[in-house]
Amino acid sequence: MLSWIAPLQPLLLGLVLLWSARLKLLSRDAAAAAGRSALARLVGDARALPAFRLVGAVEAALGLLLLAPPALPAEALAAATLSVGFAGYLAYARVAAPDSSCGCLSATRTPVRWRSFARTGGLLAASLLALPATVGWTDVLATRPLSAVALLLGEAAVLVALSPELDRHWLEPLRQLQVRVTRPLAGGGFAVPLDSTVEQLHRSPVWRQTAALLTSDLREHWDDGEWRILVFTARHRGDEVSAVYAVPRLRYQPAAVRMVLLDEPTGQVVLTLHAPPDSPDPDWLHPSPAPATASAVGSAVALG
């Protein structure tokens, strides 16, 4: 059975190595990927990119050798050695720079986890499988095309599943589909969250006038009919008082927010405040309602 499986492994290994080399040699993100990888830690920041390129060149050379016709055991041995080297590198990254990226197959930031080790183990197994190969992969593809393609697809699927870099191409869409089908977050309800009320309070004219008095964050809140009551602690003339705000609960009307400052132990109201009702016209358009007070007249006389 090995007689047809073994010659196929160099094809798989060659393609994976060329794919990996493509990132390191041709990608515009190579410099960034090198900087994020544990190589920067291993050989220093300045030499990370040359080292990254060198690994890419070795991968490309070995990949091409594996794909080229004469199937030599030495090639498989070299691939196995490279896999062991990668495993060592991953172990180093895991221990010395756990926050670094793998930099293996794509520039996507992917910390080293068990999947990276499993993938390297898979490549090592494929390299060892390739050792007894006597014929080239082209011959096997020609003689038993169906089983050969099926095997290669299966192995490729395993490698893809073990590659965290490729998750966004297959795992995320799958999970998005699952969410679309099962709708796990549908039951949110239509209750107005506290956050929304607090934000409305922050946009109210009353808040602009009184926020500087507050010393505490939101202490307490409850609903009362169309209002949501929010209680803070405030400091007014050196006394600690409660600042009680009433914010419209089911409508957005920051101008309707009102508040009282209240001394809780005595129940005495220190200050009440609510914004004047909305009016389309500026105040000075309205006729002056009451005769001027004595003090206003006095100052007018003094000015005149």
């Binding site: 926050d99 992917t110 910390p111 986890r113 966004r168 995320e172 999970r175 998005q176 969410v179 796990p184 977050l185 549908a186 039951g187 949110g188 309800g189 239509f190 209750a191 107005v192 969250p193 506290l194 956050d195 929304s196 934000e199 409305q200 006038q209 009184t210 500087a212 008095l213 010393t215 505490s216 964050d217 939101l218 202490r219 307490e220 409850w222 009362d224 209002w227 009551i229 602690t233 400091r235 007014h236 003339r237 050196g238 600690e240 409660s242 009680v244 009433a246 009102r258 508040m259 009282v260 209240l262 809780e264 109201v269 220190v270 200050l271 009440t272 405040l273 914004a275 004047p276 009702p277």
Partner: protein, 200 residues
Amino acid sequence: MTENLDRRRLLTSAVVGSAALAGATALGSLAPEAAFAAGEQAIEPGAPDPNFAEGRITGISAGMLFVTGSDTALWRIRITGGTSIWKLRPTTFEQVAVGDGLYARGLRLPDGTLAADSVWVNIVNVHAHIAAIGRNLLHLDHKGKRIVGHLVPGTSAARYNNTPAVSDMSMLRVGKHVQVIGAWVPDTNEVQIATVYANA
């Protein structure tokens, strides 16, 4: 409990009662000296703020929290009737437990205690990607580490594109970036989500 209900009724009627409806007359004064009567304490640039504490709670006694800071500073934090306590939501002193983490802001008293104005228990602020969504669960990918976010019905809110918060979480998407404000469950990788900020 009935005492609290009576108190709430009193406060409610004070702020929305008919007396307040009569007109926009302000009782008392909002002059700047009223607002800034306490005065500002000068803090040396670069010096630690004496009125701020953080750490894990190692002991609780009547009205007092004993806290060990991340720099091993020991804090005694006094909780008063005017202290706001946040633990996923505005809550009470009884909900605070040993082992919780906290940030506190208040006023340093001469006896070394911190009289807290506000205490935020277990609060965390996380930027992450949604890796997967389960029933009332967000699996978050935070720099390669997994955080499990629990949505608490009735409390958790979502803010999409900076619009006002809503309870509807259905616009969260796998793979998208989110910011989560929540309450950490001590010594786990789990948070209870208060607000999740997302783009829809």
